[in-house]
């Protein structure tokens, strides 16, 4: 097995274990705190990752991402405030459990469920990613073009909220992605004569503005907690045998739902957790127990979101197509190091691929330890007032962006995006599809041009390739479904 011969030796080097621990520790930290999402954390640490070896960088950023899924449930259970969006469902049954004095078992169950979900997800990555990569080796630019187009359209149509607004955000992201010199023709696009824009700008700036600054503005004076959290003792954590019996099947169902939605473009842990909850509700005859502290209602979505987080690495690492905004940012991190993820990644950079997967195991074991014996620490972190926290976050945003190029102009762009993002958020425009558009847009363009060169500009020749045709037809179906759906909505 390559995992043991290549992966663990890489992941177990001191520096990688240290950064893996840093990633999951900070991930849990931001996950616990409402008002900072995993994506913001990934964006915040992105500038640091530029100084690291690419494998170490992805190990750390990955740790942040899945660590945040563990931490997020703590605030859901104790405060009825989701730490991250994908833990929102956990509030429904987690908070009632805490009100009944069963906060301890709820926290224990979510940690175990998260671990099971992550473990199943990682096993799937190990087996499916090499298979998918082998399949994708036959891909040419035409196939990439169509697969990425499908990803783009899915990002706009499948997400939460109004579909048409998501589509508009994808288009906006693509427009922003076009900024700079066109690599094929050397034409300046959307630069308006500003020299700093000639090379375009990195995704960090966009992510920091739209997620970091926007979230801070949105959370100030909205998040009030402090006194109402009690301490959770170790002894109170243990669930009853009855609880264990009840959560086994829901965890399996949750893992299945999560692993299905994780790699799909446009969906992700949040959608997976909501669907897992809905499925769980359907599977039980006594539906009215849900919402009143049913253990099944926290086990299933918590397994699902972690399974989805791990499996979302499959399309990113094997095809180079990010399924979610966080993965888009992570792809950006790899691109900075000059690594273009694709089907050859597993063969050409086995240390990176297997090292990252081995680090999933290490990181999740760290998380299990951090979240069960040390749960009291995280509960205490919930008491840090937000008024001290947000100046620190702002500070990290500023210095992080500044340190990229020593450019105050970049920080200025973050401010503009932040304010703009906040105004968009007020009007219910979700920023996540925009990030996917930003990363995928230029890639779609490049592959489209390449395949047009091969077919001598004949668009219909694309349909002669079976895989390309399938992707294009799927894209068309999604588009029609989206237009039909939004027409029905507006009626």
């Amino acid at each position: 097995m390559d995992l043991f011969t290549i992966g663990f030796p890489v992941a177990l080097t001191l520096i990688n274990v240290a950064y893996c621990f840093l990633g999951v520790f900070l991930g849990t930290f931001v996950g616990v705190l409402p008002g900072i999402s995993g994506l913001t954390a990934v964006a915040l640490l992105l500038p640091l990752s530029y100084h690291l070896d690419p494998t170490t960088a992805i190990i750390m950023l990955g740790g942040l991402y899945y660590g945040a899924e563990y931490g997020g449930s703590t605030a859901s259970i104790l405060l009825n405030l989701p730490g991250t969006a994908s833990n929102a469902v956990t509030c429904l049954d987690g908070y009632p459990m805490a009100r009944q004095g069963r906060a301890g078992p709820a926290l224990f169950i979510t940690s175990v469920a998260s671990f099971i979900g992550a473990a199943i997800g990682t096993v799937l990555v190990m087996f499916l990613a090499p298979l998918l990569a082998k399949f994708a080796l036959s891909f040419h630019s035409a196939e990439y073009f169509s697969a990425m187009l499908l990803g783009l359209v899915a990002a706009g149509t499948v997400g939460q909220g109004r579909r048409i607004k998501s589509v508009a955000m994808v288009v906006l992201g693509m427009t922003l992605g076009m900024i700079g010199i066109d690599t094929n023709t050397g034409v300046f696009r959307y630069t308006y004569g500003i020299a700093n824009l000639y090379d375009g700008f990195p995704i960090v700036i966009l992510a920091m503005g739209f997620f970091g600054v926007t979230e801070v503005i949105n959370s100030i004076n909205r998040i009030k907690f402090v006194a109402e959290v009690g301490d959770v003792s170790l002894r109170s954590l243990m669930p009853t045998a009855e609880d264990f019996r009840r959560i086994t099947k829901p965890m399996m169902r949750g893992a299945a739902v999560g692993s299905f939605f994780g790699p799909l473009p446009g969906t992700g842990p949040t959608i997976a957790s909501f669907i897992a909850y809905a499925v769980e509700k359907k599977c039980h005859k006594d539906e009215d127990r849900f919402g009143k502290g049913a253990v099944e209602g926290i086990a299933a979505p918590e397994t699902a979101n972690n399974a989805a987080v791990q499996t979302s690495f499959i399309p990113t690492l094997t095809l180079g197509i990010p399924g979610s905004a966080t993965m888009a940012v992570m792809l950006g991190a790899l691109l900075v190091h000059g690594i273009q993820p694709g089907p050859k990644l597993i063969v050409e950079q086995p240390e990176l691929f297997w090292g990252v997967i081995a680090s999933f195991w290490i990181g999740n074991i760290f998380l299990l330890i951090l979240n069960i014996p040390f749960i009291g620490l995280w509960v205490r972190i919930l008491k840090i007032p937000y008024k001290f926290l947000y100046p620190c976050i702002l500070c990290m945003i500023c210095i992080g962006v500044y340190s990229l190029n020593n450019s105050a102009f970049d920080v200025g762009m973050v401010i503009i995006f932040g304010v703009f993002g906040y105004l968009l958020k007020l009007m219910d425009f979700e920023p996540a599809p925009m990030l996917i558009g930003f990363i995928l847009g230029p890639m779609v363009e490049q592959n489209f041009r390449r395949s047009m060169v091969i077919t001598h500009g004949d668009f219909w020749a694309l349909f002669e390739r079976p895989i390309t045709a399938t992707f294009l037809i799927l894209t068309l179906v999604l588009l029609v479904w989206m237009i039909y759906g939004s027409l029905r909505e507006s009626r």
């Binding site: 600054v213 001290f388 620190c392």
Partner: protein, 105 residues
């Protein structure tokens, strides 16, 4: 071109949709918006001209105006500690070309 046109068409479409619905005016978090904007802007203005320590101090002090509850002693302390800390990390440990206070350190 195509993207620009698509944006405009989508924009008009969303506008029309919004027109036809009964609107709920979103609650506006104005004070934080202005304070965060001003704080970040002061960072941008100060970092190249005066250095990282005053820039971070200004960011934290101005940014803190957003909160309803104010506690000046702790905010000043936070600004002080954070600015020194970021200077230490960035210009001393990571050796980035940032000055602490121009002309002094």
């Amino acid at each position: 071109m195509i993207l620009g046109a698509t944006s405009i068409v989508l924009g008009i479409f969303i506008g029309v949709m919004g027109w036809r619905e009964k609107g709920r005016i979103p609650s506006f978090n104005l004070l934080p918006l202005v304070a965060v904007f001003a704080g970040l802007s002061s960072f941008v203005l100060l970092i190249d001209r005066v250095g990282i320590i005053p820039a971070v101090c200004a960011l934290i002090l101005v940014g803190s105006l957003a909160g309803h509850e104010k506690n000046w002693t702790s905010t000043v302390l936070l600004a002080f500690v954070f600015s020194i800390l970021s200077w230490l990390i960035f210009s001393i440990i990571l050796e980035l070309p940032v000055v602490g206070v121009r002309g002094l350190i």
